[in-house]
Protein backbone atom coordinates (compact mmCIF):
# COMPACT_ATOMS: atom_id res chain seq x y z
CA UNK A 1 0.00 0.00 0.00
CA UNK A 2 1.60 3.23 -1.14
CA UNK A 3 0.81 6.03 1.25
CA UNK A 4 0.90 9.77 0.85
CA UNK A 5 3.12 9.64 3.93
CA UNK A 6 5.26 6.56 4.44
CA UNK A 7 7.49 5.70 7.34
CA UNK A 8 9.97 3.02 6.19
CA UNK A 9 11.70 1.54 9.24
CA UNK A 10 12.22 5.11 10.37
CA UNK A 11 14.13 5.80 13.57
CA UNK A 12 15.26 8.93 15.33
CA UNK A 13 18.04 9.22 17.89
CA UNK A 14 19.17 12.14 19.95
CA UNK A 15 22.79 13.23 19.48
CA UNK A 16 23.62 11.31 22.70
CA UNK A 17 22.44 8.09 21.04
CA UNK A 18 19.18 7.67 22.89
CA UNK A 19 16.47 6.42 20.52
CA UNK A 20 13.19 8.33 20.62
CA UNK A 21 11.72 6.35 17.76
CA UNK A 22 12.73 3.01 16.28
CA UNK A 23 11.78 0.97 13.23
CA UNK A 24 8.54 2.77 12.54
CA UNK A 25 6.90 1.42 9.41
CA UNK A 26 3.55 2.89 8.60
CA UNK A 27 1.73 4.24 5.57
CA UNK A 28 -0.89 6.95 5.58
CA UNK A 29 -2.93 6.78 2.37
CA UNK A 30 -4.11 9.97 0.70
CA UNK A 31 -7.17 11.43 2.38
CA UNK A 32 -6.84 9.40 5.57
CA UNK A 33 -6.70 10.88 9.05
CA UNK A 34 -4.33 8.82 11.16
CA UNK A 35 -4.09 9.32 14.91
CA UNK A 36 -0.70 8.76 16.48
CA UNK A 37 -1.54 7.75 20.01
CA UNK A 38 0.85 7.29 22.89
CA UNK A 39 1.99 8.40 26.32
CA UNK A 40 4.30 11.35 26.83
CA UNK A 41 7.72 10.38 25.53
CA UNK A 42 6.40 7.60 23.31
CA UNK A 43 7.93 9.23 20.24
CA UNK A 44 4.76 10.49 18.61
CA UNK A 45 5.86 14.11 18.31
CA UNK A 46 9.24 13.00 16.96
CA UNK A 47 7.41 10.93 14.34
CA UNK A 48 5.40 13.99 13.35
CA UNK A 49 8.49 16.19 13.05
CA UNK A 50 10.12 13.63 10.79
CA UNK A 51 7.32 14.23 8.31
CA UNK A 52 7.94 17.97 7.81
CA UNK A 53 11.70 17.60 8.12
CA UNK A 54 11.99 19.46 11.41
CA UNK A 55 13.83 16.25 12.31
CA UNK A 56 15.77 14.00 9.97
CA UNK A 57 15.54 10.23 10.47
CA UNK A 58 18.65 8.61 11.94
CA UNK A 59 17.65 5.29 10.40
CA UNK A 60 15.30 4.32 7.61
CA UNK A 61 13.37 6.95 5.71
CA UNK A 62 10.20 8.97 5.64
CA UNK A 63 8.57 9.69 2.31
CA UNK A 64 6.01 12.36 1.55
CA UNK A 65 4.19 12.17 -1.76
CA UNK A 66 6.62 9.46 -2.81
CA UNK A 67 9.76 11.45 -2.12
CA UNK A 68 12.24 11.04 0.73
CA UNK A 69 12.04 14.00 3.13
CA UNK A 70 15.80 14.39 2.75
CA UNK A 71 15.32 14.89 -0.98
CA UNK A 72 12.69 17.60 -0.46
CA UNK A 73 13.65 21.23 -0.11
CA UNK A 74 12.55 21.55 3.54
CA UNK A 75 11.03 24.99 2.92
CA UNK A 76 8.89 23.67 0.04
CA UNK A 77 7.87 20.61 2.03
CA UNK A 78 6.81 22.68 5.03
CA UNK A 79 4.83 25.17 2.96
CA UNK A 80 2.87 22.24 1.52
CA UNK A 81 2.25 20.87 4.99
CA UNK A 82 -0.16 22.46 7.44
CA UNK A 83 1.18 22.38 11.00
CA UNK A 84 -0.91 22.85 14.12
CA UNK A 85 0.58 22.62 17.60
CA UNK A 86 -0.77 22.56 21.10
CA UNK A 87 0.97 25.58 22.56
CA UNK A 88 -0.66 28.76 21.49
CA UNK A 89 1.73 29.32 18.64
CA UNK A 90 -0.09 32.14 16.95
CA UNK A 91 2.25 35.07 16.52
CA UNK A 92 1.26 37.56 19.24
CA UNK A 93 2.49 40.60 17.31
CA UNK A 94 0.25 39.89 14.31
CA UNK A 95 -3.52 40.19 13.94
CA UNK A 96 -5.63 37.09 13.43
CA UNK A 97 -5.89 37.89 9.71
CA UNK A 98 -2.12 38.33 9.35
CA UNK A 99 -1.49 35.07 11.20
CA UNK A 100 -3.75 33.20 8.79
CA UNK A 101 -2.21 35.03 5.83
CA UNK A 102 1.36 34.06 6.71
CA UNK A 103 2.08 31.11 4.45
CA UNK A 104 0.27 32.65 1.44
CA UNK A 105 2.35 35.78 2.06
CA UNK A 106 5.55 33.73 2.18
CA UNK A 107 4.43 32.09 -1.05
CA UNK A 108 4.01 35.52 -2.63
CA UNK A 109 0.29 35.37 -3.40
CA UNK A 110 -1.24 38.63 -4.65
CA UNK A 111 -2.85 40.68 -1.87
CA UNK A 112 -6.39 40.35 -3.17
CA UNK A 113 -6.16 36.57 -3.30
CA UNK A 114 -4.73 36.48 0.24
CA UNK A 115 -7.55 38.68 1.55
CA UNK A 116 -10.17 36.47 -0.10
CA UNK A 117 -8.53 33.33 1.25
CA UNK A 118 -8.35 34.71 4.79
CA UNK A 119 -12.01 35.63 4.66
CA UNK A 120 -12.92 32.18 3.38
CA UNK A 121 -10.91 30.38 6.05
CA UNK A 122 -12.11 32.48 8.95
CA UNK A 123 -15.67 31.80 7.82
CA UNK A 124 -14.80 28.10 7.58
CA UNK A 125 -13.72 27.95 11.23
CA UNK A 126 -16.69 30.06 12.35
CA UNK A 127 -14.82 33.27 13.23
CA UNK A 128 -15.93 35.77 10.58
CA UNK A 129 -13.17 38.05 9.35
CA UNK A 130 -15.22 41.21 9.82
CA UNK A 131 -15.45 40.58 13.54
CA UNK A 132 -12.24 38.68 14.28
CA UNK A 133 -9.75 39.50 11.51
CA UNK A 134 -8.38 42.62 13.19
CA UNK A 135 -8.03 41.15 16.68
CA UNK A 136 -4.82 40.01 18.26
CA UNK A 137 -4.44 36.41 19.46
CA UNK A 138 -4.49 37.40 23.14
CA UNK A 139 -7.99 38.80 22.66
CA UNK A 140 -9.33 35.34 21.77
CA UNK A 141 -10.34 32.39 23.93
CA UNK A 142 -8.28 29.19 23.84
CA UNK A 143 -10.80 27.48 21.58
CA UNK A 144 -10.89 30.43 19.20
CA UNK A 145 -7.11 30.50 19.07
CA UNK A 146 -6.94 26.85 18.12
CA UNK A 147 -9.55 27.41 15.40
CA UNK A 148 -7.28 30.17 14.06
CA UNK A 149 -4.37 27.74 14.33
CA UNK A 150 -6.26 25.29 12.12
CA UNK A 151 -7.23 28.06 9.69
CA UNK A 152 -3.59 29.15 9.48
CA UNK A 153 -2.48 25.60 8.74
CA UNK A 154 -5.04 25.34 5.94
CA UNK A 155 -4.22 28.74 4.44
CA UNK A 156 -2.15 27.68 1.45
CA UNK A 157 -4.39 24.65 0.87
CA UNK A 158 -1.73 22.06 1.70
CA UNK A 159 -2.50 18.43 0.86
CA UNK A 160 -1.16 17.30 4.23
CA UNK A 161 -1.97 18.37 7.79
CA UNK A 162 0.12 17.59 10.85
CA UNK A 163 -1.50 18.23 14.22
CA UNK A 164 0.43 17.87 17.47
CA UNK A 165 -2.08 17.57 20.33
CA UNK A 166 -3.92 20.55 18.87
CA UNK A 167 -6.73 20.50 21.42
CA UNK A 168 -4.70 19.31 24.42
CA UNK A 169 -4.82 22.59 26.33
CA UNK A 170 -8.58 23.12 26.00
CA UNK A 171 -11.37 22.49 28.45
CA UNK A 172 -13.29 19.23 27.78
CA UNK A 173 -16.39 20.90 26.35
CA UNK A 174 -14.52 23.11 23.88
CA UNK A 175 -12.35 20.15 23.10
CA UNK A 176 -15.36 18.03 22.10
CA UNK A 177 -16.68 20.84 19.93
CA UNK A 178 -13.38 21.23 18.14
CA UNK A 179 -13.02 17.50 17.61
CA UNK A 180 -16.45 17.44 15.95
CA UNK A 181 -15.60 20.52 13.88
CA UNK A 182 -12.32 18.99 12.79
CA UNK A 183 -14.11 15.81 11.73
CA UNK A 184 -16.66 17.84 9.77
CA UNK A 185 -13.90 19.86 8.15
CA UNK A 186 -12.06 16.73 7.14
CA UNK A 187 -15.23 15.28 5.58
CA UNK A 188 -15.36 18.30 3.33
CA UNK A 189 -11.67 18.82 2.67
CA UNK A 190 -10.37 15.25 2.60
CA UNK A 191 -6.79 16.18 3.50
CA UNK A 192 -4.28 13.57 4.50
CA UNK A 193 -3.78 14.22 8.20
CA UNK A 194 -1.68 12.91 11.07
CA UNK A 195 -3.11 13.80 14.45
CA UNK A 196 -0.97 13.27 17.54
CA UNK A 197 -2.86 12.75 20.79
CA UNK A 198 -2.56 10.98 24.12
CA UNK A 199 -6.30 10.44 24.40
CA UNK A 200 -7.77 7.29 22.85
CA UNK A 201 -11.26 8.75 22.77
CA UNK A 202 -10.04 11.77 20.89
CA UNK A 203 -8.16 9.49 18.51
CA UNK A 204 -11.30 7.44 17.87
CA UNK A 205 -13.34 10.57 17.33
CA UNK A 206 -11.11 12.34 14.82
CA UNK A 207 -9.26 9.57 12.99
CA UNK A 208 -9.93 6.81 10.49
CA UNK A 209 -7.13 4.70 11.94
CA UNK A 210 -5.14 4.81 15.12
CA UNK A 211 -1.47 3.93 15.51
CA UNK A 212 -0.33 3.32 19.06
CA UNK A 213 3.28 4.04 19.98
CA UNK A 214 4.99 2.95 23.16
CA UNK A 215 8.63 3.55 24.03
CA UNK A 216 9.37 4.71 20.50
CA UNK A 217 7.91 1.63 18.84
CA UNK A 218 4.66 0.97 17.02
CA UNK A 219 2.68 -1.53 19.09
CA UNK A 220 -0.69 -1.55 17.34
CA UNK A 221 -2.42 0.00 14.38
CA UNK A 222 -6.00 -0.30 13.20
CA UNK A 223 -9.42 1.27 13.12
CA UNK A 224 -10.78 2.36 16.51
CA UNK A 225 -13.02 -0.75 16.48
CA UNK A 226 -10.06 -3.03 15.81
CA UNK A 227 -8.17 -1.47 18.70
CA UNK A 228 -11.20 -2.00 20.93
CA UNK A 229 -10.85 -5.70 20.26
CA UNK A 230 -7.08 -5.81 20.69
CA UNK A 231 -5.47 -7.82 23.45
CA UNK A 232 -2.28 -5.77 23.50
CA UNK A 233 -1.44 -4.64 27.03
CA UNK A 234 -0.71 -1.00 26.08
CA UNK A 235 -3.94 -0.82 24.07
CA UNK A 236 -5.85 -2.21 27.05
CA UNK A 237 -4.16 0.39 29.28
CA UNK A 238 -5.34 3.21 27.02
CA UNK A 239 -8.84 1.71 26.83
CA UNK A 240 -8.98 1.46 30.62
CA UNK A 241 -7.75 5.05 30.99
CA UNK A 242 -10.44 6.25 28.57
CA UNK A 243 -13.22 4.32 30.30
CA UNK A 244 -12.67 6.04 33.62
Amino acid sequence: MAGFVEFAAAGYRLPDGRALLAELSLAVPEGETLALLGRSGSGKTSALKLVNALLVPSEGAVRVDGRDTRAWDPIRLRRRTGWVIQEIALFPHLTVARNVALVPELEGWPAARIAARVEELLALVGLPAREFGGRRPHELSGGQRQRIGVARALAADPPLLLLDEPFGALDPVTRNELQAEFRGLQHRLGKTAIFVTHDLREAARVADRVALLAGGRLVAVGTPEELDASANAEVRAFLAAGAR
Partner: protein
Amino acid sequence: MSAEILTETARHLYLVAVSIGVATGAGVPLGVWLTRRPGAARVVLGVANVVQTIPSLALFGFLIPVPWIGGIGARTALVALTLYALLPVLRNTVTGLAGVDPTLREAGRGMGMTDRQLLLRVELPLAASVILAGIRVATVIGIGVATIAAAIGAGGLGVFIFRGVAMVDNATILEGALPAAALAIGADVALGALERRLRPPR
Protein backbone atom coordinates in the same frame (compact mmCIF):
# COMPACT_ATOMS: atom_id res chain seq x y z
CA MET B 1 23.26 83.87 26.31
CA SER B 2 20.09 81.94 25.50
CA ALA B 3 21.17 81.72 21.84
CA GLU B 4 24.34 80.02 23.05
CA ILE B 5 22.29 77.54 25.06
CA LEU B 6 20.28 76.67 21.95
CA THR B 7 23.43 76.24 19.88
CA GLU B 8 25.07 73.97 22.43
CA THR B 9 21.82 72.02 22.95
CA ALA B 10 21.73 71.40 19.21
CA ARG B 11 25.36 70.24 19.23
CA HIS B 12 24.62 68.07 22.22
CA LEU B 13 21.68 66.46 20.43
CA TYR B 14 23.80 65.99 17.34
CA LEU B 15 26.48 64.13 19.33
CA VAL B 16 23.92 61.86 20.97
CA ALA B 17 21.80 61.26 17.86
CA VAL B 18 24.75 60.31 15.67
CA SER B 19 26.41 58.08 18.28
CA ILE B 20 23.13 56.29 19.12
CA GLY B 21 22.35 55.93 15.43
CA VAL B 22 25.73 54.36 14.71
CA ALA B 23 25.60 52.17 17.83
CA THR B 24 22.14 50.91 16.84
CA GLY B 25 23.07 50.41 13.20
CA ALA B 26 26.11 48.38 14.22
CA GLY B 27 24.87 46.87 17.48
CA VAL B 28 21.64 45.28 16.30
CA PRO B 29 23.15 43.36 13.35
CA LEU B 30 26.13 42.42 15.51
CA GLY B 31 23.76 41.24 18.24
CA VAL B 32 21.83 39.13 15.72
CA TRP B 33 25.08 37.59 14.56
CA LEU B 34 26.14 36.90 18.16
CA THR B 35 22.96 34.93 18.88
CA ARG B 36 24.13 32.49 16.22
CA ARG B 37 27.58 32.22 17.84
CA PRO B 38 27.37 31.86 21.61
CA GLY B 39 31.15 31.60 21.98
CA ALA B 40 31.75 34.88 20.20
CA ALA B 41 28.90 36.43 22.17
CA ARG B 42 30.75 35.90 25.44
CA VAL B 43 33.91 37.51 24.10
CA VAL B 44 32.24 40.50 22.45
CA LEU B 45 29.91 41.21 25.37
CA GLY B 46 32.88 40.91 27.71
CA VAL B 47 34.88 43.45 25.73
CA ALA B 48 31.88 45.80 25.57
CA ASN B 49 31.50 45.41 29.33
CA VAL B 50 35.12 46.41 29.88
CA VAL B 51 34.74 49.48 27.66
CA GLN B 52 31.71 50.45 29.75
CA THR B 53 33.82 50.40 32.92
CA ILE B 54 36.38 52.91 31.60
CA PRO B 55 35.63 56.26 33.26
CA SER B 56 34.20 58.49 30.56
CA LEU B 57 36.64 61.35 30.98
CA ALA B 58 39.50 58.84 30.72
CA LEU B 59 38.04 57.26 27.58
CA PHE B 60 37.82 60.68 25.91
CA GLY B 61 41.40 61.33 26.93
CA PHE B 62 42.65 57.94 25.71
CA LEU B 63 41.13 58.53 22.29
CA ILE B 64 42.73 61.91 21.63
CA PRO B 65 46.14 60.55 20.52
CA VAL B 66 44.65 57.68 18.45
CA PRO B 67 45.31 58.30 14.74
CA TRP B 68 42.31 58.70 12.35
CA ILE B 69 39.63 58.67 15.03
CA GLY B 70 41.36 60.81 17.66
CA GLY B 71 42.18 64.47 18.00
CA ILE B 72 40.38 67.40 19.53
CA GLY B 73 36.75 67.82 18.50
CA ALA B 74 33.44 66.18 17.75
CA ARG B 75 34.82 63.14 15.93
CA THR B 76 36.63 61.80 18.98
CA ALA B 77 33.58 62.47 21.11
CA LEU B 78 31.37 60.57 18.68
CA VAL B 79 33.67 57.54 18.79
CA ALA B 80 33.65 57.51 22.59
CA LEU B 81 29.90 57.97 22.84
CA THR B 82 29.30 55.22 20.29
CA LEU B 83 31.50 52.83 22.25
CA TYR B 84 29.49 53.59 25.38
CA ALA B 85 26.17 53.09 23.60
CA LEU B 86 27.21 49.81 22.04
CA LEU B 87 26.95 47.62 25.13
CA PRO B 88 23.31 48.30 26.08
CA VAL B 89 22.22 47.90 22.45
CA LEU B 90 24.22 44.70 21.96
CA ARG B 91 23.21 43.15 25.24
CA ASN B 92 19.54 43.88 24.77
CA THR B 93 19.57 42.60 21.21
CA VAL B 94 21.08 39.33 22.37
CA THR B 95 18.73 39.11 25.38
CA GLY B 96 15.67 40.06 23.34
CA LEU B 97 16.31 37.47 20.66
CA ALA B 98 17.12 34.80 23.24
CA GLY B 99 13.83 35.57 24.95
CA VAL B 100 11.70 34.76 21.91
CA ASP B 101 9.51 31.78 22.75
CA PRO B 102 11.15 28.72 21.13
CA THR B 103 7.68 27.40 20.32
CA LEU B 104 7.04 30.42 18.10
CA ARG B 105 10.40 29.94 16.44
CA GLU B 106 9.61 26.32 15.73
CA ALA B 107 6.11 27.24 14.56
CA GLY B 108 7.68 29.64 12.06
CA ARG B 109 10.13 27.03 10.86
CA GLY B 110 7.37 24.42 10.62
CA MET B 111 5.40 26.82 8.43
CA GLY B 112 8.28 26.97 6.01
CA MET B 113 10.01 30.22 6.92
CA THR B 114 13.62 30.62 5.88
CA ASP B 115 16.08 31.78 8.58
CA ARG B 116 15.86 35.29 7.18
CA GLN B 117 12.06 35.33 7.18
CA LEU B 118 12.04 33.97 10.70
CA LEU B 119 14.36 36.76 11.81
CA LEU B 120 12.52 39.59 10.09
CA ARG B 121 8.94 38.44 10.61
CA VAL B 122 9.09 36.77 14.00
CA GLU B 123 12.28 37.18 16.01
CA LEU B 124 13.05 40.87 15.53
CA PRO B 125 9.44 42.08 15.90
CA LEU B 126 9.07 40.06 19.09
CA ALA B 127 12.41 41.29 20.45
CA ALA B 128 11.83 44.89 19.32
CA SER B 129 10.67 46.24 22.68
CA VAL B 130 13.66 44.72 24.50
CA ILE B 131 16.07 46.06 21.87
CA LEU B 132 14.44 49.48 22.13
CA ALA B 133 14.85 49.38 25.91
CA GLY B 134 18.59 49.00 25.28
CA ILE B 135 18.54 51.97 22.91
CA ARG B 136 16.67 53.96 25.54
CA VAL B 137 19.24 53.19 28.23
CA ALA B 138 22.06 53.99 25.80
CA THR B 139 20.40 57.31 24.92
CA VAL B 140 19.91 58.41 28.51
CA ILE B 141 23.49 57.47 29.40
CA GLY B 142 24.72 59.13 26.21
CA ILE B 143 23.01 62.43 27.02
CA GLY B 144 24.79 62.46 30.35
CA VAL B 145 28.19 61.35 29.10
CA ALA B 146 28.03 63.80 26.19
CA THR B 147 28.43 66.66 28.69
CA ILE B 148 32.02 65.45 29.11
CA ALA B 149 32.61 65.90 25.38
CA ALA B 150 33.13 69.61 26.02
CA ALA B 151 36.37 68.69 27.78
CA ILE B 152 37.91 67.68 24.44
CA GLY B 153 36.49 70.58 22.49
CA ALA B 154 33.44 68.86 21.05
CA GLY B 155 31.01 71.39 22.46
CA GLY B 156 27.58 70.53 23.78
CA LEU B 157 25.92 71.44 27.06
CA GLY B 158 29.05 70.43 28.97
CA VAL B 159 30.53 73.77 27.82
CA PHE B 160 28.45 75.55 30.49
CA ILE B 161 29.19 72.97 33.13
CA PHE B 162 32.97 73.17 32.68
CA ARG B 163 32.78 76.95 32.45
CA GLY B 164 30.65 77.13 35.61
CA VAL B 165 33.00 74.83 37.48
CA ALA B 166 35.99 76.97 36.48
CA MET B 167 34.20 80.15 37.54
CA VAL B 168 32.65 78.53 40.63
CA ASP B 169 29.31 79.79 39.34
CA ASN B 170 26.30 77.56 39.97
CA ALA B 171 24.04 79.52 37.64
CA THR B 172 26.33 78.81 34.70
CA ILE B 173 26.58 75.12 35.65
CA LEU B 174 22.79 74.94 35.68
CA GLU B 175 22.61 76.46 32.20
CA GLY B 176 24.18 73.23 31.03
CA ALA B 177 22.87 70.79 33.60
CA LEU B 178 19.18 71.67 33.41
CA PRO B 179 18.79 71.34 29.62
CA ALA B 180 20.81 68.10 29.75
CA ALA B 181 18.54 66.70 32.44
CA ALA B 182 15.46 67.79 30.50
CA LEU B 183 16.77 66.10 27.36
CA ALA B 184 17.45 62.88 29.28
CA ILE B 185 14.00 62.83 30.85
CA GLY B 186 12.31 63.68 27.55
CA ALA B 187 14.17 60.92 25.70
CA ASP B 188 13.39 58.45 28.47
CA VAL B 189 9.67 59.21 28.38
CA ALA B 190 9.38 59.24 24.60
CA LEU B 191 11.37 56.04 24.01
CA GLY B 192 9.61 54.39 26.95
CA ALA B 193 6.24 55.08 25.34
CA LEU B 194 7.44 53.66 22.03
CA GLU B 195 8.82 50.63 23.84
CA ARG B 196 5.42 49.90 25.41
CA ARG B 197 3.77 50.12 22.01
CA LEU B 198 6.19 47.61 20.55
CA ARG B 199 5.87 45.18 23.44
CA PRO B 200 4.04 42.10 22.10
CA PRO B 201 0.80 41.38 23.94
CA ARG B 202 0.81 38.13 25.82
